[in-house]
């Protein structure tokens, strides 16, 4: 969660009346977070750069429409998610990129299968570079509709309510996806972190 600017409401109001400095201050506060989100969504630095640029331009162009019902950051996140989806659709096709959830045929499909203790600091077995690679590839392997909820809630630190709001989901739907995302990630990380595990990187 980026540090919330104390004077954010005032900055937004100034930016809405045309202050370039105020808009720049808002952008500087959040650009790294939006870039990381775009990178985690698209997994491609060039695409992430485009998403960040388009998001900032859209935010600037639509500033007058921001009514202050959410935090400015949540609004910006929503724009960045839409831009990321548009980018993904261009490269992967319309059908493959959807936040719609497939109806579950097996109600218990998300129940844990691998149950092994990790110990207190399983990440210490890996170098920082290795660890980042393990985490990034685990996130990438999640289906998009789970990945996006996890990214907003746990990586970018939005509240569950804000996550639901940014994605246009009901709160129960956001919670259900978050649970499944966390359980799936746990399962994907298990081979690397359980006490007997020494997968190493391929």
């Amino acid at each position: 969660m980026p540090v919330h600017l104390d004077n954010e409401t005032a900055l937004v109001a100034e930016a809405q009346t045309g202050s370039h400095e105020a808009f720049t201050a808002l952008v500087k506060q959040y650009d790294r977070h939006i870039y990381r989100l775009a990178l985690n969504m698209t997994r491609n630095p060039e695409d992430a750069k485009d998403v960040l640029q388009e998001s900032l331009l859209k935010a600037y162009a639509n500033l007058a429409r921001f009514e202050g019902k959410s935090r400015f950051y949540t609004w910006l996140v929503r724009i960045a998610i839409n831009e990321s989806l548009m980018k993904l659709r261009k490269t992967r096709g319309q059908k493959e990129v959807s936040l719609e959830e497939e109806p579950e045929t097996d109600e218990n499909s998300f129940m844990p299968r691998e149950i092994e203790d990790w110990g207190p600091s399983p990440e210490e077995r890996y170098s920082q570079v290795e660890l980042q690679e393990i985490l990034a590839s685990a996130i990438e392997s999640l289906e998009l509709h789970y990945r996006v909820v996890f990214l907003l809630r746990d990586v970018e630190g939005l509240s569950t309510e804000e996550t639901a709001q940014a994605l246009g989901l009901s709160l129960p739907a956001a919670k259900s996806r978050l649970l499944r995302a966390r359980l799936q990630l746990r399962e994907k990380l298990n081979p690397y972190f359980h006490k007997k595990g020494d997968y190493g990187l391929q």
Binding site: A48, K49, N108, L179, R182
Partner: protein, 78 residues
């Protein structure tokens, strides 16, 4: 509380969003169920590994793009 119910409430438990009675029932279950205990601790660790990490500074090229986009906007306005 049985194992399935613990898993269903796992996220709410990790986020501190369970009402006290439900939380106590869940914690009571964890005291005697080693499997659920492991799932809860490893799921908590999973979230910890990802959360509250400061993003890296923008790559120079991306930083320059942001500066350029902002200054173009300014010039178009003035």
């Amino acid at each position: 509380m049985v194992c399935n119910e613990v898993i269903r409430e796992l996220s709410n438990y990790l986020d501190g969003e369970l009402d006290p009675a439900l939380r106590q029932a869940l914690e009571k279950h964890l005291r005697y169920c080693a499997d659920c205990s492991i799932v809860v601790s490893t799921a908590r660790k999973t979230v910890e590994l990802f959360c509250n990490k400061e993003p890296l500074p923008l790559p120079t090229e991306v930083q320059q793009m942001v500066e350029r986009a902002l200054s173009e906007k300014q010039h178009r306005k003035t």
